[in-house]
Symmetry: C2
Subunit: 149 residues, 2 copies
Amino acid sequence: MPIMDAPRRDLAAMIAPLQRALIAAEQPVLRAHGLSMWGYVVLNALDGQPVRTQAALAEVIGADKSRIIGVLDELEAGGLLQRTRDPEDRRARLVAVTEEGRRRCRAVQVDIQRNEERLLTRLSAADREAFLRVLTELSALPASEIAGE
Amino acid sequence: MPIMDAPRRDLAAMIAPLQRALIAAEQPVLRAHGLSMWGYVVLNALDGQPVRTQAALAEVIGADKSRIIGVLDELEAGGLLQRTRDPEDRRARLVAVTEEGRRRCRAVQVDIQRNEERLLTRLSAADREAFLRVLTELSALPASEIAGE
DNA sequence: TATTGTTATACTCTATAACTATA
DNA sequence: TATAGTTATAGAGTATAACAATA
């Protein structure tokens, strides 16, 4: 067993440029579909669960509740989601994607993942599978677990 | 061959929370060693190549040349790097890490990667190897290749 | 009094554009 | 005139705190 492994770069240092480039690649797609980055993130988060309170929604996407308000306003104005007062607690507003919102979100995702798939073709089938599986697992961890409590 | 694969999340959407948590995990380590995030990035970039012009250095780490000046000032004040005028072109300043700078950088990296290794232990040896290899490959690609020209 | 959504304020980053000194 | 480094300004993004309505 070797005492020293070959040195590797930090995970964050490797992920950073990849993340930056992936986001840059999304911009023209989003613009073509008339969506902001946060708008897309919100629609994605709502796609599965049809109702949600705004604060909970904000936490899911790692944002402050005050930060998503403008985003929700825009999406609602564009007919991509609806906000209705919760009859059981009139302080809260139930947020739901509209059919059009779901369509738009899916269309954007198809375009984005088309580019990502092109990128992934440079990997072997086994590497692709392992990479996506590991990424899925690690991204699902709570931040505290990644930071080490 | 199935017509539809199981839907997956976007790469960027999976990477984002991971990146956020990894950076958060680095903060206490950096603070303990008296380094800023950008200071650490700069030292890392200089570790291999001892001399470099500031503009080139900035480009390597994906920053604007004006953005790293305060960072270089701090590092120099702390004795972690030296700037000397290039005698062949007195406009340019040659940047080199000091021995102390190299030590500091290595010490930080050991702490950071210790936490990362803890995280990676949840992967099988094969997954760990594949994940790091793919990440190394993808992070080395030019941004234009990731964006699809 | 506490909580939801909202608005307002301040703070951090970052990009852009002037400025200097050399070439 | 053009370039390397620097400084100054302005803009975007974000977090925090105050606010109104409801519980």
